[in-house]
C-alpha cells in the first residue's frame, strides 16, 4: 500500500519534553474510513501523539503524514479536513449552544447557507435542538459531549481525532456516542479515538496499545485477544484475599485481578493442566473455590501489554 492510502502514516515519530520521552519512535498506519483506537494508561503518550498529528506539537524526530499533508509543516492545509476534540470541553461555556455552533461554523468559514444547513443537520443528529438557547456551561457531561461532536463535525472533516471523548459521560451516552461514531465511519470518516474503557476499545476496527510512548500491541481487537500469550483462569471463592496470597507468589502466575468474590488469573502459557494445579493447591491449603478456564478479554491484553514487560511486576 502507498502512504496515501492511509489517513495517517508516521515513521519514527518521537517527542521529548526535557528528559522525558513522551512518544518514542512511533510507526503507525491508520487506514481510511475506520475507527482506530488508542489504548494505554495515563501518560502513555496518547494525547501527545494526537497533538503531534494535529501539528500542535513539533516532533523531536521522525515524520508524520496526515491526509497527504506533512505535519507540522503543512498543518494549516489540514485544518479544513480535520477535526480535533480535546479531552477537556473546549467550547465556550459562557456562550449558548447555538452561539457556539455558529462561532465554529464561521471560524471554519462555512458560508451562510452551508452554516445554516450544517447546524440544522447536526442539531437534529445530536439532539441539540431543545438545547440551542442553553449556555454550554450548564449542560450535562453527555450533552456537552454531543455539542462538542456536533461542533467538530460541522465542517465535515475527513479525519477526526478524539482524545478520550467519553471520560465524563455516563454509560448510556457513551453507547449513543459510539453509534454516532460508526455512522460517521460508514460515511467514510477516519476516526482516531483514545480511551481507557475496554468496552469502547472492543468496538474499534483496529487497536494500538501504547505504554510509556511505545506501541506494545497492534491489531484488530479479536485478533489481539486470540493472540494473548497467557492462559486465563477464574476462581470463585469466599476467601479471595487468602486465595490470592496463596497463588500470586508462584512464578507461573503472571497477574491477578479481583472481581468481587472472583479472582482472575493470567498464567504462563506453558503451564500444564492449570485448573488441576490450582485445585490441588487450594485443597492443600483447605480453601474452597471453583476453578474455571475463561476466554481472554481486552483487559487481559491491556494488562499483559502494559504489565508483563515491566521489570518489577
Amino acid at each position: 500500500m502507498n502512504e496515501n492510502d492511509f489517513a495517517i502514516s508516521c515513521r519514527g515519530l518521537t517527542r521529548r519534553f526535557g528528559p522525558v520521552t513522551a512518544v518514542s519512535n512511533l510507526d503507525l498506519d491508520v487506514p481510511r474510513g475506520r475507527i482506530f483506537g488508542f489504548l494505554g494508561p495515563n501518560g502513555s503518550g496518547k494525547s501527545t501523539t494526537m497533538r503531534l498529528l494535529c501539528g500542535l506539537l513539533v516532533p523531536s524526530a521522525g515524520r508524520a503524514t496526515v491526509l497527504g499533508c506533512r505535519v507540522p509543516e503543512e498543518a494549516e492545509k489540514l485544518r479544513l479536513q480535520m477535526g480535533y476534540m480535546t479531552q477537556k470541553f473546549s467550547l465556550y461555556e459562557d456562550l449558548t449552544v447555538l452561539e457556539n455552533l455558529r462561532f465554529v461554523a464561521r471560524v471554519f468559514d462555512l458560508g451562510l447557507r452551508r452554516m445554516r444547513q450544517r447546524i440544522e443537520v447536526n442539531s437534529a443528529l445530536y439532539e441539540l435542538n431543545d438545547l440551542h438557547s442553553r449556555l454550554a456551561g450548564t449542560l450535562s457531561g453527555g450533552q456537552k459531549q454531543r455539542l462538542a461532536l456536533a461542533a467538530v463535525t460541522l465542517h465535515e472533516p475527513r479525519l477526526l481525532l478524539l482524545d478520550e471523548p467519553t471520560s465524563a459521560v455516563d454509560p448510556q451516552s457513551r453507547r449513543d456516542f459510539w453509534d454516532r461514531l460508526f455512522e460517521l465511519a460508514d460515511q467514510g470518516t477516519t476516526i482516531l479515538v483514545s480511551t481507557h474503557f475496554m468496552d469502547e476499545a472492543e468496538r474499534c476496527h483496529r487497536l494500538t496499545f501504547l505504554d510509556r510512548g511505545v506501541i506494545v500491541r497492534e491489531g484488530p481487537p479479536q485478533e489481539l485477544m486470540d493472540r494473548l500469550e497467557a492462559i486465563t483462569v477464574e476462581v470463585a471463592t469466599r476467601m479471595p484475599r487468602r486465595t490470592r496470597a496463596l497463588l500470586a507468589p508462584n512464578d507461573w502466575v503472571l497477574a491477578v485481578t479481583q472481581l468481587g468474590n472472583r479472582l482472575r488469573f493470567m498464567l504462563d502459557p506453558d503451564t500444564e493442566s492449570p485448573v488441576e494445579r490450582i485445585d490441588a493447591l487450594l485443597r492443600k491449603a483447605s480453601l474452597q473455590g471453583a476453578v474455571q478456564r475463561t476466554g481472554a478479554t481486552l483487559e487481559d491484553v491491556f494488562v499483559a501489554a502494559t504489565n508483563f514487560q515491566r521489570p518489577s511486576r
Binding site: R51, C54, G55, L56, L57, V58, P72, A75, E76, R79, L80, M82, G83, Y84, T86, K88, F89, S90, L91, Y92, E93, V104, V107, F108, D109
Partner: protein, 385 residues
C-alpha cells in the same frame, strides 16, 4: 534570688504555651505551609515579590524629581543689548530652561508653544533699557503654558529666586511679569482632566486585553481554537476590535463628564480628539495582548498589567514633570503611548492644537501601536510547545 527564681519559673510557661498555640492553629499552619509552597512554585510571582519593589524604587527614585531642568523655551529679544542678553543668560544659567528657539516674532513662538514644542517664551521688549532705570514696570514678560502644573511651579520658583539686574531700594524687585496661557486661572481641574482621559483609558484597556488570550488558554478553549483555520492576526485583531469601540465609549464618558463637571473648555476639534484616541486605544490594547501572550494564568496577566501600570503612571509626565526626569527615565517614559497621548490631549483640549501640530506625538503613538501588535502576533503560535 527570689526574683531570679520567679523569672525562671515564668520562662517555664513558654514551651507549653507555644505548644498550645500550635495546637490551636494546627489547621491554620497547614494552610500557611501550603500557601508558602505554592508561592514558591510560581516563579513569576516570586520574581514580582523581589523584583517589583527593587525596580520601582530605582526607577522612581530617579524619576520622581520635581526640579524641572532644561525645559524648552523660546526667546524674543527686541532690545538686544548686553543687559538683555545678560537677563536671558541668567535664566538659562539656572538650567531650568533652555532657549531652543529664537525669533523676532512673538506669534511664531507662541505657535510653537501651542504645538507643544515650547513650554514658555521670554519676551524682552525694545524699551528694556528704559525699564531698567524705571523701577515700576517689569523688565520682560514670561509667557507660560499653564496646562501642566509642574511647569507653573518650576517657573514660579525660577522667577522668585532670579536676581534682579536693577537695584531697587527697600522692596524686593520682580523683574519678570508672568503671563499664563491656555489656563489663565491656573485651575488644577483644567490641567488634570485632559490627562485623566488618557490615564483612565490606559488602565481599563490594558487590563481588558491582558486577560484576553490567557483566559482562553486557562479555560481550555485555546487548544480547540488553534486547530481551526483561524490565523494569528485574525485572532489578535478580532480580540482587540470590540475593545476599540469600548475605548471610544470610555473616551466620550470621561471627556464629556470631565469637561462638563469641571468646566474645562475645549479649544481643539473633537474629531481630532477621537482620532487620536482611536490610535492610542489600539496601542494600549496591543500592550495588553502582549502581556497576555507572556502570562500563564489570568492572575499573572493582572500582575503583569499592574507591573506596567505604575511606571506608566509615574513616568508619563502626569504626576511628575517629564522635563525633570533623568534621560534614562525619559527614554523609558517615551516607550509608553500614554506619555505621548497626555501631550496630545492637552494640546487638543487646552491649546487648540491640531493633529498636524501634534504630528511627532501621533507618529510615536502609531509606531508604538505597530510594535505592540506585532509582539503578540509574532509571539503567538498555533502550537502548544
Amino acid at each position: 534570688m527570689g526574683l531570679w527564681r520567679a523569672f525562671v519559673f515564668s520562662l517555664s510557661w513558654i514551651p507549653p504555651l507555644l505548644a498550645l498555640v500550635r495546637f490551636w492553629f494546627r489547621r491554620t499552619s497547614a494552610i500557611v505551609d501550603k500557601e508558602i509552597r505554592q508561592l514558591f512554585r510560581e516563579r513569576l510571582t516570586l520574581g514580582m515579590i523581589v523584583g517589583l519593589p527593587l525596580i520601582q524604587i530605582i526607577l522612581f527614585g530617579y524619576a520622581i524629581n520635581t526640579d524641572v531642568r532644561h525645559m524648552a523655551a523660546g526667546l524674543v529679544d527686541h532690545a538686544d543689548t548686553s543687559m538683555s542678553r545678560q537677563l536671558a543668560g541668567a535664566l538659562e544659567a539656572s538650567q531650568v530652561l533652555d532657549f531652543v528657539s529664537r525669533s523676532g516674532d512673538v506669534t511664531e513662538l507662541l505657535d510653537q508653544m501651542r504645538r507643544g514644542d515650547l513650554r514658555t517664551v521670554l519676551y524682552i521688549p525694545a524699551d528694556f533699557e528704559r525699564r531698567l532705570s524705571d523701577g515700576d514696570r517689569p523688565l520682560a514678560q514670561l509667557m507660560v503654558d499653564a496646562g501642566d502644573p509642574t511647569i507653573i511651579s518650576a517657573i514660579e520658583r525660577l522667577v522668585q529666586f532670579l536676581p534682579s539686574p536693577r537695584a531697587v531700594a527697600g522692596q524686593p524687585d520682580m523683574p519678570l511679569a508672568l503671563r499664563f496661557y491656555y489656563n489663565p486661572e491656573r485651575r488644577s481641574a483644567v490641567q488634570i482632566v485632559p490627562a485623566l482621559v488618557g490615564l483612565i483609558l490606559n488602565f481599563t484597556m490594558i487590563v481588558f486585553t491582558a486577560v484576553a488570550v490567557v483566559r482562553e488558554r486557562e479555560r481550555g478553549n485555546l487548544e480547540f481554537l488553534i486547530t481551526t483555520p483561524v490565523r494569528n492576526y485574525e485572532l489578535m485583531l478580532g480580540k482587540i476590535a470590540p475593545y476599540i469601540l469600548i475605548g471610544l465609549i470610555q473616551v466620550s464618558i470621561v471627556y464629556f463628564a470631565g469637561t462638563w463637571l469641571f468646566r474645562v473648555p475645549t479649544l481643539g476639534s473633537l474629531l481630532d480628539l477621537y482620532l487620536a484616541s482611536l490610535v492610542f486605544v489600539a496601542a494600549t490594547l496591543g500592550i495588553g495582548l502582549s502581556i497576555s501572550t507572556f502570562a500563564k494564568s489570568q492572575f499573572q496577566a493582572i500582575q503583569g498589567a499592574i507591573f506596567f501600570m505604575l511606571p506608566m503612571l509615574l513616568l508619563s509626565g502626569f504626576m511628575f514633570p517629564f522635563d525633570g526626569m533623568p534621560r534614562v527615565a525619559q527614554w523609558v517614559g517615551l516607550l509608553f503611548p500614554i506619555t505621548h497621548f497626555v501631550e496630545v490631549v492637552r494640546g487638543i483640549i487646552l491649546r487648540g492644537a491640531t493633529l498636524a501640530d501634534l504630528a511627532p506625538q501621533m507618529y510615536a503613538i502609531s509606531g508604538l501601536f505597530l510594535v505592540s501588535i506585532a509582539i503578540p502576533v509574532l509571539r503567538f503560535t498555533k502550537r502548544l510547545d
